[in-house]
Symmetry: C2
Subunit: 351 residues, 2 copies
């Protein structure tokens, strides 16, 4: 079996805790299915700033470029958040990494697990059978457009910019995914206000011609934020720009019962990165209470991307088994005192 | 009693239906409390485009400038939404009106009515006792920054721009409101990515010095979109920029059980406009099923703004009475077949 080089970027907060549990699970999968992983760790985020002054050291970037896939934890540290003057911030590391690796599509599946329906703040009847995937554009838009703060600090701007080519590739991916699913794409935008949104609509309409079986619909982002809660079942594939995708995918996490469950894949032409959508969650750091499932499910997405479908399926089944047996952390069951590693060990054991 | 000149802009979709019911209610209030209203109607939105080619005719703008308050319905028409090439769109009328009248603060109260707790997609335990106000900046940000689409239609951008002075006034309003409430202001932003958000943080921190009793906190917009659903009770006053406010206030409507309940006030130094936060809802147009309560409650906010507190309170009590007795439209009670005017008549009767 081919050796798969995996760059491991644990980052900040609960990142290292969930990633080390995930690697434990991956090592078991490796044995069972005779895979061959080569894990190599590198610094990113606040910890990289502390140690090197740079949130994305060159060595880290090079390692990621050379790897077959990147397993990512989380980054961010409150000490930077409330300091509007900080010149270097952990998030710059992740954003630069996404850009340099060309990870144009961030794919975030959201589904309601039957045995967790009771855990969501939403009523069972509203979320039952919800199964959607959000395709969020990841390396353009207001995250990467020209930014400016005046010397005297009284004026600032951010620019949301899109070229047709930035939109095309992810739109194709979304339509291709819809073909494998319920054949519905919903473009979320603000076309009644934004020029960039109207460009998205135009490109989506053009590309939809190549997928005559797929139904293309449009929803303004304000309405989408509401519809996601009142009727999440209506969505199959959601396609959207960077910032809107950030907001509605975090919002969508309430459907599954916990953001600690949601994995994501960030795909480029030559590279791919897999990360839980929860952030660094500093309040939980070091307490052993972080839910490792989002990271473990991200690893399953990684295996699938690497063509290791058996391993991916095995992990997903094991996580579902753990959920069904309520071997979960306290975010999913208030009465649970299972720690991060107890949950991960259970998943590893029943693989 | 002084005469209050009220400009009536019904607009599109269900706007005319809910506004005419609201005026019915206002006329009863006028009698009871011996107020003196002078209503004058004018065109805006899609209907204004149809009749004059301009979504905000000069006569409409002038009428609004001269009025003591503007009562607004809604605008928008699907025939413009899916036409990325439309040069003139109904929304331009509303945006220009907001800008020209200097309506810098859009104030959106969200509360859970006891008797409607069962109607929300959210579990009762999550929304009970929720009572927050969103202060959304309304005349800057990405709505009004420089916009561009290239001739060949392959490139577009939108600019989110803020000056310190654009942020100061609404921030003061938010803190003043918090002083009358639970003394908490939550700034929602994306300060880990956007320069404009960091400017907001800086201004909010500075101004908070003048309100030492008020606790100022910060939340990234993605996290806020999640927190609004998992723990809405935590919020007292939310302060945010234009686009984020648009998204989270629509999302917040799920707490009350229906967007058909939510009023808003848009305040400037010299003018003020009152509108339901639901849009033109074209699917419901002409069916008599639109919920008039958001518009009627907006009128209550208008009376309070005009210093007519007795009338405001009377309307709010009457609406609450109607809700408690389930004299509501079908968005709030599936089994109800009360029409827009039956509900409004009930409210007018028990004033
Ligand atoms: C950490 C932050 C920059 C990032 C983003 O906004 O993209 C995070 O919220 C995410 O969604 O991955
Ligand atoms: C109609 C539209 C331009 C408007 C907005 O986005 O501001 C609406 O959604 C609102 O919230 O009042």
């Amino acid at each position: 079996m081919k050796t798969h080089k995996i760059a491991v970027l644990s980052g900040d907060g609960i990142g290292p805790e969930v990633v080390s549990e995930t690697i434990k699970v991956l090592k078991v999968v490796e044995q069972i299915f005779k895979y061959n992983f080569e894990f190599e760790e590198a610094l990113i985020g606040a910890i990289a700033i502390d140690e090197t002054g740079n949130p994305l050291p060159d060595a880290t970037l090079q390692l990621c470029k050379d790897a077959d896939a990147v397993l990512f934890g989380s980054i961010g540290d409150p000490k930077y958040d409330n300091n509007p003057n900080a010149k270097v911030r952990p998030e710059q590391g992740l954003l630069k990494l996404r850009k340099e690796l060309g990870l144009f599509a961030n794919i975030r599946p959201i589904k309601a697990y039957e045995s967790l329906l009771g855990k969501s703040p939403l009523k069972r009847s509203h979320i039952e059978e919800t199964d959607m995937v959000i395709f969020r554009e990841l390396i353009n838009g207001i995250y990467f457009g020209e930014k400016f703060t005046s010397e005297d600090g009284t004026h600032a701007y951010d620019t949301c910019s899109y070229h047709r080519k930035d939109i095309e590739e992810i739109t194709h991916l979304a339509f291709q995914e819809a073909m494998k699913r319920r054949k519905k794409v919903m473009l979320v935008d603000k076309a009644n206000v934004l020029d960039t949104s109207r460009l998205w609509r135009k490109v989506a309409m053009d590309i939809s011609q190549e997928y005559p079986e797929v139904e293309l619909d449009f929803l303004f982002v304000d309405n989408a934020a509401m519809q996601l809660i009142i009727n999440p079942k209506q969505f199959d594939v959601i396609l959207t720009e960077n910032m809107f995708g950030d907001i509605i995918s975090d919002e969508g996490s309430v459907i599954g019962g916990s953001i600690g469950l949601l994995p994501s894949a960030s795909i480029g032409t030559e590279n791919a990165l897999f990360e839980p959508i929860h952030g660094s969650y500093p309040q939980a750091e070091g307490k052993g209470i972080a839910n490792p499932m989002a990271s473990i499910l991200s690893a399953a997405m990684m295996l699938r991307y690497l063509g290791l479908e058996d391993g991916a399926k095995a992990i997903e089944n094991a996580v579902e088994n753990a959920i069904n047996n309520l071997i979960v952390t306290s975010d999913l069951d208030e009465t649970s005192d299972y720690s991060t590693s107890v949950v991960a060990n259970y998943i590893a054991k029943i693989l």
